[in-house]
């Protein structure tokens, strides 16, 4: 069992959780993920680490309510426990002094971008961060990201806060203005990562994306998370989660994310019905 030691709503559909997992915290690196199973009947889902604290023995997860597991997580409070937390899994982000890097976080993807931007800044890079959300009430961690960036640009799709538009617009401007960008790291919805990759491609700038595939074990055992990168099949759990965005077969990513759409809806509706009956 893994105890939740702090819990906070970052916005109506996004939850922040600090969870006791000392062994995982000791080994965690930027870009890695954990697999969680909330309860006995629960599914195993991957969540990229948003932070960790070796001294405290905790890991931080930020989850958006999209399916049964994340709805269940949202219902838990400080002091509650989750049944399983497995990690740290996957390869960590490549951290080096590349020069100037652009970190792009979209939606809930802002959370895993944070430790990567921090590590890049610590490694001596000039870090420009772009964070975006559909609207103001879905934005979180602006301060945190500002603290690990030399420059921060915020966008909202509807213009309810900061710059109106999507993250690819400032990304393109930066690339046009600054010929010295060494790499771009983009994390967010698959569609955003695809368009970030398309935006950077003409500039020939290395672009890494963190794929959020469906997984079961997360250790290379099932092959559920397979993606096609540069024409060859990769397992996101052990070969990733970060890949060269210019080489990813995005159509396959979108298709495979939809495998269980119907079942996910059915599961969530059932869970919500149970919640109503019990409250």
């Amino acid at each position: 069992m893994y105890k939740i030691v702090a819990k906070e709503k970052l916005c109506p559909v996004v939850d922040f959780m600090k969870i006791e997992a000392p062994a995982v915290a000791k080994k965690a690196k930027a870009g890695q993920f954990v697999v969680v199973r909330v309860d006995e009947v629960g599914e195993r889902i991957p969540l990229t680490l948003a932070d960790w604290d070796d001294k405290e023995g905790t890991v931080t997860l930020v989850a958006m309510q999209v399916g049964t597991t994340t709805y269940k997580l949202a219902k838990l409070n400080t002091g509650d426990q989750i049944l399983d937390l497995i990690g740290p899994l996957g390869l960590s982000s490549e951290i080096d002094n590349f020069g100037t890097v652009v970190c792009v976080g979209g939606g809930v993807g802002v959370a895993p971008v944070y430790p990567i931007a921090r590590a890049l800044k610590q490694a001596g890079n000039k870090v420009i961060t772009i964070m975006g959300a559909r609207s103001k009430d879905l934005l979180f961690w602006e301060d945190r990201l500002r603290s690990v960036s030399h420059e921060l640009i915020v966008t909202t799709d509807d213009g309810s806060y900061a710059r109106k538009g999507v993250v690819t617009e400032p990304l393109k401007e930066i690339l046009e203005k600054n010929k010295q960008i060494s790499r771009v790291i983009a994390i967010g919805p698959a569609i955003m990562m695809k368009f970030c990759s398309l935006t950077t491609k003409p500039f020939g700038v290395t672009t890494l994306v963190s794929l959020n595939s469906i997984m079961v074990d997360g250790t290379g055992m099932c092959g559920c998370c397979r993606a096609s990168v540069e024409g060859s099949t990769k397992f996101v759990c052990v070969d990733g989660p970060e890949f060269d965005g210019h080489q990813v077969d995005w159509d396959l990513v979108f298709n495979r994310q939809r495998i269980y759409c119907d079942e996910e809806r059915q599961s969530l509706e059932l869970w919500k019905t149970h919640q109503c009956q019990h409250s």
Binding site: V41, E43, D84, P88, C222, T233, L252, R256, R258, L270
Partner: protein, 473 residues
């Protein structure tokens, strides 16, 4: 002179009662129902207690088979349990999934007469009797005094559990590290409920824990800690029983279409995550109308039979050789056939065909014929020119076998591995070339049987014990 009457051989093997094929094809309950006490007695009485005991030699963990059978005959079930557990910590599992027909039963003296003693069924009977009478048994296993030595066992499958059980009996402190959220390895994620009920596996895991073995779940070694870190901390030895968990794919076009599963994923969803109970359990699985399973081993049979139980209309086994070359146990092929699995033999997939939504809709296959024997001794399948045909499918499961997960070898300095990813270890002792590290089971041999992994775990435990006793603390 009166001639000594030779005892008449009873060649009527007592059949195993099983669920009716029609009924069982739609439920996940155990297929084989187990002997009644009378059946067990009748079968045990057929044993001629020959002095040569070939059966015990035919068992990879050398269970004292004639003795446990004699105890059944004497109606001393507690004694039978004691004899069994002396050599085998997991009899309920072995009695169900061991290929006895190529081991103890193959060499049984009565085998020459075509009616070997049903040792596996008797073993299962003894194990099940113990489970039902555990309260009155209160057996205390013989543990040797504590040596103060600590061993880390990585993986809680058959090899790890057996190795741990023996080591703790020798007096060592043992911690098992398991990557998944339950112990049992392939016994939990791979073999389906209807062949090996998960409560039986957990019962035997609990027995190993009751001996004093600590089991740490959710612990992915190589990530959470490396083998070297374990050795540098306070472990005197490490046993790798990490199995062969990496799925092999066909590497043909269309394999990433939605609806194409590795057998590992398909079975893990069904068994470990209980997707057959969706939506009561959260993990989903696609229930196909027409399901094709590619492969001819036990895993292929398990996948096909799971697909049928999930509710498929038609399930095919697609196998590139003929019936006789199938690596699956004869009994499982028979079970599958009885349940209505359709065998498409001498057939090999060429490519998967999908729709514009990315879902598999069909499989194009070659017809095959058999040529000269290959390295495996089996006749090599050859593509028949112009034999392509298409089968409509909405779910496909690729059950071609598995290779070891590279997570441990790639994070451990000084381990030697073969091209196929298996770890090199001494066949007799399980010792690897790395100091204080042993390995056994599928991680060494590639995918094999539960009992051979248990045998390897047992031999490694003896070797680790000898090593620990020869070194000063």
């Amino acid at each position: 002179m009166e001639e000594k009457a030779k005892p008449k051989l009873d060649l009527n093997r007592v059949a195993m009662p099983r669920q009716d094929p029609k009924a069982r094809a739609r439920n996940f309950n155990e297929v084989a129902l187990g002997y009644t006490h009378d059946m067990a007695l009748q079968e045990a009485n057929r044993c001629i207690q020959c002095p040569k005991r070939p059966c015990a030699d035919g068992c990879p963990v050398n269970v004292d088979i004639p003795e446990f059978i004699k105890a059944i005959r004497d109606n001393d079930m507690a004694e039978s349990v004691r004899i069994m557990k002396g050599k085998n910590a997991l009899p309920g599992i072995c009695g169900r999934v061991c290929p006895q027909e190529t081991q103890c039963e193959e060499v049984c003296t009565l085998s020459k007469k075509g009616a070997p003693i049903a040792i596996g069924r008797l073993e299962r009977y003894v194990a099940d009797w113990e489970r039902e009478h555990s309260a009155e048994l209160a057996t205390s296993p013989n543990l040797l005094p504590s040596t103060g030595k600590k061993v880390a066992v990585i993986g809680s499958g058959p090899a790890g559990l057996t190795c741990a059980a023996d080591l703790v009996k020798f007096g060592h402190k043992v911690t098992i590290f398991e990557a998944l959220h339950v112990a049992g390895g392939v016994l939990m994620y791979g073999i389906p409920e209807f062949r090996l009920p998960k409560a039986i596996v957990q019962g035997e895991v609990d027995y190993v824990k009751s001996l004093g073995v600590e089991v740490r779940l959710d612990s992915v070694m190589g990530k959470l800690a490396t083998v070297d870190e374990l050795l540098e901390s306070n472990y005197d030895a490490v046993f790798l029983g990490t199995g062969a968990g990496l799925p092999m794919f066909l590497d043909i076009p269309g394999e990433n279409f939605n609806g194409v599963y590795s057998a590992n994923e398909f079975l893990t969803r069904v068994n470990l995550m209980k997707a057959y109970l969706f939506p009561e359990y959260d993990t989903p699985i696609k229930i196909g109308k027409k399901v094709a399973v590619v492969g001819g081993g036990n895993v292929a049979m398990d996948s096909a039979r799971c697909a049928l139980r999930l509710g498929a209309d038609e399930v095919y086994i697609i196998y590139r050789r003929s019936r006789v070359e199938m690596p699956a146990r004869h009994e499982e092929v028979e079970n599958a056939e009885e349940e209505g699995i359709i065998f498409k033999l001498l057939t090999n997939p060429k490519r998967f065909i999908g729709n514009d939504q990315g879902w598999v809709t069909a499989m194009e296959c070659y017809g095959m014929e058999l040529g000269e024997p290959d390295a495996s001794g089996r006749r090599r399948p050859i593509i028949k020119e112009g034999s392509e045909f298409t089968i409509e499918v909405d779910v496909a499961v690729v059950a071609l076998g598995t290779t070891p997960n590279p997570l441990i070898p790639s994070t451990t300095k000084g381990l030697e591995t073969r091209k196929n990813g298996t770890v090199m270890a001494n066949e007799e002792t399980g010792k690897t070339v790395k100091d204080r590290v042993w390995a056994g089971g599928d991680v060494v041999t590639g995918a094999a049987t539960v009992i051979s992994a248990m045998g390897a775990g047992k031999r490694a435990a003896a070797s680790i014990d000898a090593h620990l006793k020869s070194t000063k603390s």
